[in-house]
């Protein structure tokens, strides 16, 4: 069993345009992360990212105003090795990125936690 308490030292940005989805997953994240930032589209997400520089980014792809792909590319320009998890309903080239961990909706929370750990373990290794 992984020690989820380690997440409490980390911050996360979650970008999702569907309110019910955003609310639902926000609860999981607030229980585990130290700080959780929520955004309804890529533009808001990018702004929050620049302000708070979160350790991990979880984002949807299809969103109004600015979509996830655009936001991801801008974030990677700011920080090349930023861990990002994509949650999308579409398993195709337009909706995934080889620079990220890709999760296909509907989201299995266990798998999401696996993905988060996968990301931070890399981060941990880097830190050591």
């Amino acid at each position: 069993m992984r020690d989820e308490t380690i997440l409490k030292t980390l911050s996360a940005l979650y970008v999702e345009d569907d309110a019910a989805m955003l609310d639902g997953l926000a609860k999981f994240m607030r229980r585990r992360f130290g700080d959780v930032y929520l955004a309804k589209n890529g533009k808001e997400g990018l702004e929050l990212y620049i302000t708070h520089n979160p350790d991990i980014v979880i984002t949807d792809i299809e969103m109004p105003v600015m979509n996830g792909i655009v936001m991801i590319n801008k974030i990677l320009k700011i920080k090349n090795d930023q861990p990002i998890i994509i949650t999308t309903a579409f398993n195709d080239d337009d909706h995934v990125s080889n620079r990220c961990v890709n999760l296909i909706k509907p989201i299995n929370v266990e798998r999401l936690i696996d993905a988060i750990f996968c990301c931070i373990e890399g981060k941990m290794r880097e830190a050591m």
Partner: protein
């Protein structure tokens, strides 16, 4: 009174009483004796005439008379016999003819030139009669000649026509015997003329038996003629289709017939009829084929619509399904983190039910949208457009496509509402695909509606997707025309849209490139 005296008186009386002019001239044409009638002829009293020269008088009429008189005198002297000649005199514009009889009055002494007695008998009337008679008979002769030659020519022409005619010609007596036949008819049936003239109509008739031929002849006599089609048999046994035109000539008790071989025509007609029948069949087959093709096309487009329906439903369902999935897992997670109490459960359950109701409603909406309209109705244009828009709204929102509506909500149109909404959905889907394939970042769709000048409702849908190539804009509404990849569309959407709007709704649909996009205009 002595005998001589008496004789003179007697002759003088004779001279007076006769209507003919009488004049006695001497050897130098000197007038010795002249009677009243001759004086009247010259129009002068006797005293003026006696002892004058006859030539002086005659020359005033006509110079040629003098010559004629001179010749008359010569003949008299040579022959000694009475001479008769005709003189024409023109006096006072009148032409008069005289028959002049001259006789030699011999003297006792031979060497003395004899006097000439001439009687001038007026034959003008006779001459006129003769002239008109001559003219008349001349005309008559010309007339007779003309008519004769006309008749002759006509006869020659007629017989030439009859005998050299391509059409057969023959004469038949009342017993049905062939009594005359031209070359064409002989050739038609393959007999010599001699053979033909030994046959009866019933010998060559192939359709009617001899009793029927007999009755037919009676009918022709009764009606004066007939025109009919029958069959005749040649010497070689070939059956010909013939058209016969018969006239009964009452005066000579014969029938006069023209006959034409129409075998070729009949077989052509038969072939033509057959061809027509085949053509009819072909047309029916093609119509049926077309009907099936149309049916197939509608089926295909329906399949495409079903595919799109599935795609749209899945799009609508993904987000709520995802949310419900997360919420279910959240209950377990909340329990684990000791947050789960009755209030928490109530909130989660009602949120999830809300999402589930949304899913259910989506199905109802789509079912309603794709249901076939049972009957035409008056419906709100805005409402029909909004129904189509609502299906893609989620998608548009996710793709950052903005839809600007400027619609006159009071407009209603008549037709099949769902069918119309599906057309709008098809137009919007095309735009969506165009945005996608051309990676249009900020897609804008403008939907406007207003009352046109003609009173028709006008709906325009404009996008900024770059427009359609000018080379293909004319083909947009053709069946099976598509710019999309084969797997994505059948190319029937706009064809069916056009069919429905033009045929079912009596409207028009058109497309044009404008302002960096394509604009569809529907008028109904």
């Amino acid at each position: 009174m002595d005998i001589t005296q008496q004789t003179i008186k007697f002759y003088e009386a004779l001279l007076r009483v006769t209507g003919d002019g009488i004049v006695i001239t001497g050897e130098s044409q000197n007038i010795i004796v002249v009677n009243d009638a001759f004086c009247a002829l010259l129009g002068r009293p006797r005293t003026d005439i006696l002892e004058t020269n006859l030539f002086d008088w005659l020359s005033q009429f006509d110079n040629t008379i003098i010559d004629r008189w001179a010749r008359l005198e010569t003949r008299l002297h040579v022959t000694g016999e009475n001479q008769i000649d005709e003189f024409r005199i023109t006096s006072n514009g009148m032409e008069r003819y005289f028959s002049v009889t001259a006789t030699l009055l011999r003297q006792a002494e031979p060497n003395v030139m004899a006097a000439i007695v001439s009687t001038w008998h007026d034959i003008t009337k006779l001459k006129q009669l003769e002239q008109s008679l001559k003219e008349y008979s001349g005309n008559l002769e010309i007339l007779v000649n003309e008519r004769t030659s006309e008749l002759k020519a006509a006869y020659e022409q007629n017989s030439a026509i009859l005998y050299t005619s391509i059409e057969g010609f023959f004469k038949v007596d009342l017993d049905g015997r062939i009594i005359e036949a031209n070359d064409s008819y002989c050739k038609m049936l393959g007999y010599s003329r001699e053979e033909m003239l030994n046959m009866r109509v019933s010998d060559v008739e192939a359709l009617e038996d001899s009793d029927e031929v007999k009755r037919h002849i009676e009918k022709i006599i009764g009606m004066g003629g007939d025109r009919f089609i029958t069959k005749q048999i040649t010497m070689q046994g070939r059956i010909l289709d013939v058209e016969v035109s018969v006239n009964y000539i009452k005066d000579s008790n014969i029938m006069f017939a023209f006959i034409r071989d129409i075998t070729d025509r009949v077989s052509l007609e038969n072939a033509l009829n057959e061809l027509n029948a085949n053509l009819q069949k072909r047309v029916e087959e093609e119509v049926e084929k077309n009907r099936q093709k149309d049916h197939m096309m509608f089926e295909q487009s329906r399949h495409t619509a079903m595919g799109e329906l599935l795609m749209n439903i899945s799009h609508h369902w993904r987000q709520p399904l995802g949310a419900i999935g997360v919420m279910i897992q959240d209950i377990k997670d909340a329990y684990k983190y000791k947050e789960l109490d009755e209030k928490y459960l109530d909130t989660s359950v009602s949120t999830m039910l809300n999402e589930l109701n949304g899913l259910s409603k989506t199905i109802d909406d789509f079912r309603c949208f794709y249901a076939r309209d049972r009957q035409a109705s008056q419906f709100s244009l805005s409402h029909a457009v909004n129904k189509a828009v609502s299906i893609l709204e989620e998608y548009f929102r996710g793709r950052n496509i903005s839809l600007e509506r400027d619609m006159d909500d009071s407009i209603t149109i008549h037709g099949y509402q769902n069918e119309f909404s599906q057309i709008i959905l098809n137009l919007l889907t095309n735009i969506k695909d165009a945005f996608e394939s051309r990676a249009v970042a900020n897609g804008i769709i403008k939907v406007n509606s207003y009352r046109g000048q003609s009173g028709k409702a006008v709906l325009t849908i404009l996008d900024n997707g770059g427009g359609v190539g000018e080379d293909i804009i004319g083909k947009l509404f053709d069946p099976y025309f598509t710019t999309r990849h084969k797997s994505r569309g059948t190319g029937l959407g706009l064809y069916i849209a056009k069919t429905v709007i033009e045929k079912n709704m009596n409207g028009t649909i058109s497309a044009r490139n404008i302002d960096g996009g394509c604009e569809f205009t529907i008028e109904v």
